[in-house]
């Protein structure tokens, strides 16, 4: 009997394979994509509950004893990300049913979505540094396919930048993984956490940690390595933009949390001021970049950059409270960002353009869409009782507790500018008079509204249930930082070195 941690990997991979084989039967492909995603969502929710009651879940691939084989593990942070990945893929697939072009659908659109979910789920579940690299490559190659699917000039240009920067980040990651192996002689995260504190050359470890910071920072779009994101994210189809915007940069943040929270804990205390600086610059640059834009999806793409800064701030505050707030903010942002892209995208789909100047009149024409936008954008800005408020409140409280006044001030100030951008879109797309006669344009059906509505409901639930959400994210942060418990769960009570010695004897 296979361990349950393999299921969220096997099911999407199998679904992608079958969907590729029968790619001519569009209806069946859709059914398979929907079924695999629903399975992962169900599994993710089950895992959330299981971890809350039974703690960290660990298994060893092919029965190789840790630290020799590849470890799969899930703690609270993994489970949150796994469930949200499945939720996002699900709403993206629902949105794709009504918006995606038939030509793209024929070119393996749904199999690529499933492979993306497969890669992300693997990255969230692995307990091995090199294996994390491999999962990153899997999700990258699926995302390369999705971002260039369609082959317009803008997509090819944006895609080239996206591909080059992400490959550069991956190579940095690989160099870091190689150096870590040279320094510590292992790649298992638990074993590394055990060994890196007693390693001979601690300054070398700090340098290696820098490689990981650059690698994951470029994938998460932290300043100054974020330029590829606004250059490419508005080019693919709306559904793909929504999925990427919600999910992909947060995989980089997840990797930062995992690697710096668990493996490089000592280096985190060294690098924390640098991370806070980067976080602050990212917030400010992203939000100012958004103010200059005049296209719905481009504005939102710059806001991804800005909000990734808040998540890095959670890491930079280097403690359980900061990390817990960061996790809560990330969970909220994944949901709300995708919702905003879906709502703005729906308006773009109906109007036929994403340029603010040529839009308008949506509030009168599509009141349901307008209400959804208001809720989602207020959640993004952080107006209580919506979900964004509690994440930001937690971050600011953690910053005050650490007496990092500058970053607290920046985080609070950037919110105002976020509000400005959201109101700009509200005025131009929804409130002002229609730019041209819209009576011949299609109306928004349930298929267009439902995906965003699901996400807005989740966001409202996270806002109203803020206490349990914060409790869960605190547990997740404690688990992520608890290296002693990790070593015990992965290698047994005596630790990984003891296992290695026993086998050598």
């Amino acid at each position: 009997m296979i361990h349950h941690l393999f299921l969220p990997l096997i099911v999407p991979l199998f679904g992608a394979g079958v969907a590729t084989i029968i790619s001519r039967r569009q209806l069946w492909v859709r059914v398979i994509a929907l079924a695999a995603t629903l399975f992962n969502l169900g599994y993710g929710i089950w895992l959330l509950v299981t971890i809350a009651t039974a703690g960290r879940q660990v298994t060893q691939a092919a029965g190789w004893v840790a630290p020799f084989g590849i470890t799969l593990m899930a703690d609270g942070l993994s489970a949150i990300m796994l469930a949200l990945t499945a939720l996002l893929t699900l709403v993206t697939i629902m949105f794709s049913f009504v918006t995606i072009e038939a030509r793209q659908e024929r070119f393996y659109y749904y199999p690529l979505l499933l492979l993306l979910m497969f890669g992300c789920s693997g990255a969230f579940l692995t307990g091995d540094l090199f294996n994390l690299y491999v999962w990153f490559e899997i999700l990258l190659v699926a995302s390369f396919g999705l971002i260039t699917l369609g082959g317009s000039r803008a997509q090819l240009e944006g895609g080239l930048k996206y591909v080059v920067l992400n490959l550069f980040g991956s190579l940095c990651f690989l160099v870091g993984a190689g150096l870590v192996y040279g320094v510590a002689g292992t790649l298992n995260m638990a074993h590394l956490a055990e060994r890196l504190n007693t390693v001979q050359q601690p300054s070398l470890v700090t340098a290696v940690a820098g490689f990981f910071l650059v690698a994951f920072g470029s994938k998460a779009a932290l300043a100054p390595l974020f330029f590829w994101l606004p250059a490419s994210y508005h080019t693919p189809s709306i559904a793909v933009t929504a999925l990427f915007g919600g999910l992909l940069s947060k995989v980089g943040i997840y990797a930062l949390y995992r690697v710096f929270g668990t493996v490089f804990q000592r280096e985190l205390t060294w690098l924390a001021p640098l991370i806070l600086l980067v976080a602050g610059v990212t917030m400010v640059v992203g939000v100012i970049g958004a103010m200059a834009q005049v296209n719905v999806r481009r504005i939102l793409a710059f806001h991804i950059v800005s909000q990734v800064g808040y998540m890095a701030m959670g890491l930079g505050l280097a403690g359980t409270v900061g990390l817990a707030a960061g996790i809560l903010f990330m969970a909220h942002n994944i949901v709300v960002k995708t919702a905003l892209f879906l709502i703005g995208g729906a308006a773009e789909h109906l109007t036929g353009t994403g340029e603010l100047k040529q839009m308008g009149g949506m509030a009168r024409r599509e009141p349901a869409l307008a209400v959804l936008w208001l809720l989602a954008s207020f959640a993004l800005v952080g107006i209580p009782p919506l979900s964004g408020f509690f994440g930001k409140l937690g971050l600011i409280q953690a910053g005050v507790a650490r007496e990092q006044w500058l970053i607290v001030g920046v985080a609070a100030g950037v919110s105002l500018f976020t509000l400005f951008s959201m109101l700009k879109i509200w005025n131009e797309v929804f409130w002002k008079k229609a730019y041209s006669d819209m009576s011949h344009l299609p109306r928004a059906g349930v298929g267009l509204l439902a995906p965003a509505a699901v996400l807005v409901l989740v966001s409202i639930a996270m806002g109203l249930g803020a206490a349990p959400a914060l409790e869960y994210s605190t547990m997740a942060a404690e688990q992520a930082l608890d290296t002693v418990g990790l070593v015990r769960d992965v290698c047994g009570a005596d630790g990984c070195d003891a296992v290695e010695l026993a086998v050598a004897r």
Binding site: V141, G158, L160, G182
Partner: protein
């Protein structure tokens, strides 16, 4: 030997940085390829693979592990990295070809449509 290979890694990285900072897409791709080769060599250097040359097999008669065995893990890592980088190089070449068709230029400075307001 380790020292010589370290110099090679450094040279590959330097060449990669130079090529990647040029405006030509072809040179950019060549730079990525050099960077991945340098990385592979660096992985190779990380496990005493150069100094110790024995295969990592336990002697069947005596049951003794050879002390000078080369680390097999790096070689597995390199193999994985080579395959991945090969696939990505192929993909990026195809992408650059299509971009070249669409833009009509090899110059990265001509690819600014997605950055304009």
């Amino acid at each position: 030997m380790t020292f010589v290979l370290s110099l090679v890694v450094g040279t590959l990285f330097a060449g990669a940085a130079y090529l990647m900072l040029r405006r030509s897409v072809v040179k950019l791709i060549l730079g990525m390829a050099l960077l991945s080769h340098g990385t592979n060599l660096l992985l190779f250097l990380m496990g005493d693979g150069v100094v110790k040359g024995m295969p990592p097999f336990v002697d069947e008669a005596t049951g003794v592990t050879p002390t000078a065995a080369a680390d097999p893990l790096n070689q597995a890592l390199i193999l994985t990295a080579i395959v991945i980088n090969f696939g990505f190089t192929a993909f990026i070449l195809a992408l650059a070809y299509r971009a070249n068709q669409a833009v009509g230029s090899d110059d990265l400075d001509d690819m600014v449509e997605t950055d304009r307001l």
